[in-house]
């Protein structure tokens, strides 16, 4: 096992046998937060640059601006057109990708770590981040593709249900804003350039590097990425989402199965209640085939192939969500069963036996969360982006072990109030 040292402080070594991931952290001279895990076994380097530039920062009436800005970044930058960028990356076997969710816009590079491969790959990454062209003709093409994709999504019961669910949970918050063909059609090159200038900045970035380089090399690479970004300032968050009242949204659709979502805004990243909720939810609907929802809805009654519950903590209050699909004629029966399971769990929590099983899985499976460079990158990037404690992974198992039935009951009663639940059905009879 490697020693658990970080640049900032020394971690408790008590759990070294369980974890052993050394995340180094520093702030680059130009002001971005950097997270680094050295991993020398494979000749690979992964670099992820995260900006607080997700869809929550879409201005009112301009939904999809964050997503479109990110997706157009590598379609022409500096002196390279979109073809040159893709061909040059392919020539060295490097992959450039990314994605935007509600909170983050992430640009991701995987390259072979030898200098002759990684340096040209990093050069393209820098160009894409620093000097995107936002070519007007390419933007129009991508807008047309986005609009077509949105229209297709609006025919899919699952997408319809997901959009309606978020809109109902966050009626007065950017998390509830839904992209539509109309909003995408209004976006201009200036919108993208302004969004990029405001949010793709050093102060608004965290950089995560994992792989076959030294700490010094990581520092130089990170600084070379940050130095070309405007200094900027950290993104300002909107007011926290208000808690909506419980409601039922029922939408028609010709599908053979109803799609059902039940939930409410529940918890933000970094909230200490996360661990009791995580452990409790394992028993409720997070633990796959051993969860109560799976047993009652699928195993005992054959109502659904997939039924789950989960918490998705975000920068601001993220959702708790139950999801299932069932033959449309039995939707109400399935919802009734799911609600009974949830209400019973909120009232009484798990049994001691269930709690023990949940802890055994969540702590026992910990090594599986970290057994590849890609997984290390994902974990370190989340820790960095959300400002979680650097020893988050080291403390993870201990925090789970400490959870009691009473902690779970209290946390659920605070965050999952049955009267406030929002239920969305699509294609239910």
């Amino acid at each position: 096992m490697k020693k658990l040292l970080t640049a900032v402080f020394t971690l408790l070594l008590a759990q070294a046998a369980l974890a052993g991931v050394k995340i180094e952290h520093w702030v680059s001279p130009s002001g971005a937060r950097v997270y680094f895990v050295e991993s020398r076994v494979l000749p690979i380097l992964d670099v992820q640059v995260d900006f607080a530039a997700g869809s929550m920062f879409d201005p009112a009436g301009k939904s999809s601006l964050a997503a479109l800005t990110l997706s157009v970044l590598d379609l022409g930058a500096g002196k390279l057109d979109e073809t040159a960028i893709a061909e040059q990356m392919a020539d060295i076997g490097a992959n450039l990708g990314g994605g935007a969710d509600t909170d983050r816009a992430s640009v991701y590079l995987r390259t072979l770590s030898s200098k002759d491969k990684r340096e040209p790959a990093l050069e393209i990454l820098r160009t894409v981040l620093h000097q995107p062209l936002f070519d007007a003709a390419i933007l129009e093409r991508e807008k047309a593709r986005t609009i077509a994709g949105l229209k297709e999504a609006m025919t899919r019961p699952d997408s319809i249900a997901g959009k309606a669910f978020w809109a109902a949970m966050y009626p007065n918050h950017p998390y509830g804003q839904q992209a539509s063909p109309e909003t995408v059609a209004t976006l201009t090159r200036d919108d993208l350039a302004r969004f990029h200038a405001r949010y793709y900045t050093a102060a608004n970035a965290s950089i995560t590097l994992v792989g076959d380089i030294s700490r010094d090399e990581a520092a130089a690479i990170a600084e070379s990425i940050v130095a070309g970004l405007p200094k900027g300032e950290a993104a300002k968050l909107p007011l926290p989402p208000p808690q909506p009242k419980g409601s039922l949204v029922k939408l028609a659709h010709p599908a053979s199965q109803a799609h059902v979502y039940i939930g409410l805004p529940a918890i933000e990243r970094g909230n200490p209640d996360f661990f009791p909720l995580l452990v409790g939810n394992y028993t409720l609907g997070g633990g796959g085939f051993v969860s109560r929802l799976m047993k009652e809805v699928r195993d005992k009654r054959g109502y659904a192939y997939s039924v789950f519950s989960h918490f998705a903590p975000l920068k601001q209050t993220g959702p708790f969500q139950i999801g299932l699909q069932t033959k449309r004629s039995q939707a109400n029966d399935a919802i009734k069963v799911a609600r009974e399971v949830l209400d019973g769990f909120v009232k009484d929590g798990p049994t001691e036996e269930e709690l023990t099983a949940a802890k055994a899985n969540l702590t026992g499976s910990f090594p599986l969360r970290l057994d590849s460079n890609k997984k290390l990158l994902d974990n370190a990037a989340v820790i960095g982006f959300y400002g979680l404690p650097l020893d988050y992974l080291d403390q993870y198992q201990g925090r789970i072990q400490a959870v009691t039935v009473n902690d779970i009951k209290q946390a659920f009663s605070r965050h999952v109030r049955p009267a406030d639940l929002i239920t969305v059905t699509v294609a239910a009879d």
């Binding site: 020539d91 085939f289 051993v290 055994a360 590849s372």
Partner: protein, 452 residues
């Protein structure tokens, strides 16, 4: 069997096997093979048990039974109660999964390495001692029907692919969907599942692939202990089933609630039978990479970016299978363009390859991507086990994987042009079109205008 598997797995095997003995292999007396690939990067292990039986082995009237049995495998043995399998894996801190394909059925657990033994014990137990309980079956078949509704009935692309496959293949069992026809699921009984299990779930029809932080000697000893005592039994003779030669283009259309039309053009294509002697599957793989291996590869560059005839376009070819192969071109036309426009554009790209071939630079690029992807593949223990298992399921020994990679690196531009000329042939073509229907039966709203 997802159509969106855009990177054929032939393109991504690993690089370093030939250098040393790893992986290691043994065969138990009952005929079961055990393949171990040591990878000590993290204290975890993956066990996969593969049965050489899939939907290709089914007969009319019980389509879907291979997959239904996969579900029933979690319903208990005399020593492990219903649902107990999942519970034991969960308690071990593990994740488990199973998958049924045309060619194989596989069961997988990812666990902390010290739990591997318990996983082997559990898999060995259900290899020969499954209890196919009628009451459990009655519930589970409903779950499978919900799965079919979700994956196929309410998914227009899946439905198109299902219909198209049933047209492309007329005699070969690949014509049947893996999930099974709904009517076959409705009439299936526990006895059907039991018969399937009794026939095919024997050690001589299985192999285990184990990767991770393990010692192969120790794993072999555990395999002797748990799988060794299971008795083998002769398998039914599997007669070769050959699809008659197609002699003319076939067309199928499917109407479903959707916005975008979808076009799939499926050509009959060869699959790899002999790693040394065959050459065409390698050439088709490299052709796929040149047409669709990156964002500026020919298809995306020409059809999406330049002509804007397509919103998306791709190629899908899997050169390893027990049965006959197909190569698919697929895409959706842009607004204002038709399926016919897209078909014409795809045909123009194919004609271009047939007439002028591909450039050395394109070929070199595809080979560089292939080399890098072999290294990236090593980042996933699960992926490494899958690769060994899938190749073995198609009759390709894992020892040959590195040789296949060498053969891919040797493909020439002339070979690519030759396979393009030979296999993009209308007489062996099946065309599938998704004809999108409004959700409510009413006319659509006018399209939002965008400038071009």
């Amino acid at each position: 069997m997802r159509l969106q598997q855009l990177i054929p797995f032939l393109l991504v095997p690993w690089l370093l096997t030939a250098a040393h003995a790893n992986p290691y292999e043994m065969t138990l007396k009952n005929g079961m093979r055990v393949i171990v690939k040591e990878d000590r990067r993290a204290p975890t292990a993956v066990q996969m048990v593969w049965y050489r039986v899939g939907s290709v082995d089914e007969v009319d009237g019980t389509s879907g039974v291979a997959h239904v049995l996969e579900h029933m495998m979690f319903k208990g043995t005399p020593s492990v109660g219903p649902g107990e399998f999942n519970k034991r894996v969960a308690a071990a801190g593990g994740r488990d999964n199973a998958f049924t394909s045309r060619d194989y059925t596989a069961y997988c657990q990812q666990v902390p390495k010290e739990k591997l033994e318990e996983m082997m014990q559990l898999e060995a137990d259900r290899m020969r001692h499954l209890n196919v309980d009628a009451k459990e079956f009655e519930q589970e078949i409903k779950v499978v029907m919900e799965e079919r509704r979700m994956r196929t009935d309410d998914n227009p692309q899946s439905k198109l692919f299902e219909q198209m496959t049933a047209v492309a293949f007329q005699a070969h069992p690949y014509r049947r969907p893996i999930i099974g026809w709904m009517n076959d699921l409705e009439t299936m009984t526990a006895a059907d599942a039991k018969a399937w299990y009794d026939t095919w779930y024997v050690p001589n029809n299985a192999y285990a692939v184990i990767t991770g932080d393990v010692d192969h000697h120790a794993v072999f000893a555990l395999a002797e202990k748990y799988y060794g005592p299971l008795e083998g039994r002769a398998l039914p003779v599997r007669k070769a089933q050959t699809e008659p030669t197609q002699e003319g283009v076939r067309k199928v259309s499917v109407k479903a609630p959707a916005e975008l039309p979808v076009l799939i053009m499926g050509y009959k294509a060869p699959v790899l039978r002999d790693v040394e002697k065959d050459s065409e599957p390698y050439a088709l793989d490299m052709l796929s990479a040149i047409l669709d291996g990156h964002d500026a590869a020919r298809f995306n560059k020409k059809l999406v970016r330049e002509n804007k005839v397509a919103l998306s376009v791709g190629i899908d070819y899997d050169g390893t299978a027990r049965g006959p192969g197909m190569l698919y071109l697929h895409g959706s036309p842009s607004e204002g363009k038709t399926v016919a426009d897209l078909e014409a554009a795809l045909r123009a790209e194919i004609a271009h390859v047939q007439k002028d071939g591909v450039s050395e630079q394109e070929l070199k690029r595809a080979k560089a991507q292939l080399l890098a992807s072999q290294v990236y593949k090593l980042d996933s223990m699960f992926g490494q086990a899958m690769e060994i298992g899938q190749n073995e399921s198609a009759g390709i020994p894992y020892q040959k994987i590195s040789r296949m990679l060498e053969k891919l690196q040797q493909v020439t531009a002339a070979e690519i042009q030759a396979v393009a000329q030979k296999y993009f042939n209308d007489d062996a073509l099946t065309i599938g079109v998704l004809d999108p229907q409004p959700l409510d039966g009413k006319a659509r709203r006018p399209a939002v205008a965008t400038r071009h």
